[in-house]
Point group: C2
Chain length 349, copies 2
DNA sequence: TATTAGCACTCCCTTGTTTTGAGTGCTAAC
DNA sequence: GTTAGCACTCAAAACAAGGGAGTGCTAATA
């Protein structure tokens, strides 16, 4: 993934210039423009020669004969890799991300998506961290009325799950107490994926109260714990894609916005990102590289954030291939640390 | 709102034919077409005369000279009013709305929106019922650890609210118990808007435990109860608008889809709908009639559903003016009763 | 008197043609 | 190695012409 050394310094400069110019204008860029744009002081003819080479090497191409050049996916890739290396030594400095503290995780993430979208003018998404490795801090069953019990479960990071359990017959107060004791002493501190069905079965026996109700309630508890909160994803600025002509023809717009509405595809994206994390915690998918076909004409930049204890989530930006990678990557890094700051200031036990 | 009697029977038939034809094709409809389409057996010339009249009266218009006619907002309005009257005597019969029972209100509503969208090919929204007149069924504070208390509140219709309350100093077990007793005995059965700040203040005194912690906790409880769950709105099929050329130019599409993403405008729509409810529980806003400017080129059809105890929510469909009003209204009615069936089968106390 | 046939007219849309201009590749000169 | 010059290409814009759907009006008809 390092910079391809087969390119001369000059070619690199020219390529970079082509890309940057194209990022700004969205138009194919020609040799004349470049000969002014760069500080190389080369004539357009020379540039043309170099461009011909770059085209042969696959970094740029012409949308049609006699048009200027446009960076190819490969060209973008090289460019982004260069950026990555430069950034490496830069100190990440905190910026004003305007993230207000909010007590509900949900709110924070939704707002994060919003801030990101308005900062970048691209479409954004933020996935809630996955709970499976989170640990149970507290569990309680309470009688609401004769036929209803409410179960409340608090996980690390103050994630709360709850559900009403409908019971046929009433559970006596003592039994409820017993059950609560049992649940808390047994499950407390365990991670979600440690709480297996086998464990629940054992609990049923240990409960010592042999009634259908208890079994039913325990089953319900297991369900609450395990029901994958189907990957909550918060999005914002989906309509930003209308700002980029290359994405806003009906067909593409329809597809991309659908993806944002349905969220299933975004979920796939998140899964993929979390699976193949790289050193920076930032990943860039250019065009076809993205794991979702809908994004084949977009670039997707994702960052992973961590709320401690292995609870990871993803922040993502979806925009045109000619996105401002530099700014985007910087903004993502900032947000990453903002989230860190918000959630890791309460030291985890 | 009754049928304008100044229109002859024949004009009405022609207007209806124009509209129905336009609903199907989306193209301006001309006199020739009509002379075949209607069972009136009139020549195109006669039809032309009638159309000229209808145009003078403002029910139809030409997008340009020598084009066919298109219904105006006023024309649609008349048409819809006619439909309403016809439907009046029809028996609403249950259809297969495929709504699965789900225990979380949230899920049900999201699914309702989805079903609706796929049934109609329009963009849809469903607002969660507003809680302010809902009653409190159960409240409980539990100690999670030294510094955290989780508050759980169950409202009618099994709506659950919760929040972690951070406390500086630990609250003793007995005090927590006392507090729970007090809260339950006092607040149980009260509606949200009955629980005023004054009441909370009185509770603080009654608690008899004079400590900052108790005050803080009670304040937090009040906040949880009152924090307007900022009108949750579930949407689906926003991208359906791409199916209608008259709405899918960049400008309009951008605006409409934004409205669906931001949801604020939809919330306004809901508020308006709930405020001015009419006899059928179904309302139709045509073009400029909608309380939101974004929808000026759309028609919005809304229905109000009730979960008992004054908890009302709204179902809405947003599409082109040439939407299939008949089908839409029927579908809405069906869904309305589906929701009724799901939520009012557990008889409310 | 209401309906219809006929006709001239309007104007959008489609299709085809021309022009323009940005950009290229190549070659020959510097 | 670099550059000026030139012929060439091709997309997009500008223009022109024809077709066609639809209209309004008038005069004939039932």
């Amino acid at each position: 993934m390092a910079v391809d050394t087969s390119l001369s310094e000059r070619k690199l400069i020219i390529l970079k210039a082509i890309i940057q110019n194209y990022l700004e204008t969205g138009e194919p860029v020609g040799s004349r423009t470049l000969s002014k744009y760069t500080e190389l002081n080369l004539s357009s003819a020379t540039i043309r020669n170099e461009m011909a080479d770059l085209e042969d090497l696959g970094y740029i191409f012409q949308p049609h004969t006699s048009a200027g050049r446009i960076p190819s996916d490969q060209g973008y890739r090289l460019y982004v890799d260069m950026l990555m290396e430069e950034k490496e030594q830069e100190i990440t400095q905190r910026e004003n991300a305007m993230l207000e503290k909010a007590d509900k995780v949900e709110k924070v993430l939704q707002q994060a998506a919003k801030v990101l979208a308005s900062n970048t003018n691209y479409a954004t998404m933020v996935s809630a961290p996955i709970n499976s490795r989170n640990t149970l801090k507290f569990i309680q069953l309470s009688q609401v009325d004769e036929e209803q019990i409410v179960a409340v479960i608090v996980l690390g990071g103050n994630v709360i799950k709850n559900k009403i359990i409908e019971v046929g017959e009433t559970l006596s107060n003592e039994n409820l107490l017993k059950l609560n004791m049992l649940l808390n002493t047994t499950l407390n501190g365990m991670s979600i994926d440690q709480i297996t069905l086998g464990l629940i079965a054992r609990l049923k026996e240990q409960a010592g109260i042999h009634s259908e109700v208890v079994e039913h309630v325990l089953d319900a508890v297991a369900e609450i714990i395990h029901v994958e909160d189907d990957m909550k994803i918060y999005t914002s600025g989906a309509t930003n894609i209308f700002k980029y002509p290359e994405l806003s023809d009906k067909q593409s717009a329809q597809e991309i916005i659908s993806a944002f509405e349905e969220k299933q595809q975004l979920a796939d994206l998140v899964t993929e990102t979390l699976a193949s994390e790289n050193s920076h915690g930032i990943q860039v998918y250019i065009g076809h590289e993205a794991p979702v076909k809908t994004m084949k004409d977009c670039s997707v930049v994702t960052a992973t954030y961590e709320l401690g204890e292995g609870m990871k989530g993803t922040i993502g930006i979806i925009g045109p291939k000619r996105m401002d990678y530099e700014h985007v990557m910087k903004t993502l890094k900032t947000l990453q640390s903002e989230l860190d700051a918000i959630y890791n200031k309460n030291p985890k036990e």
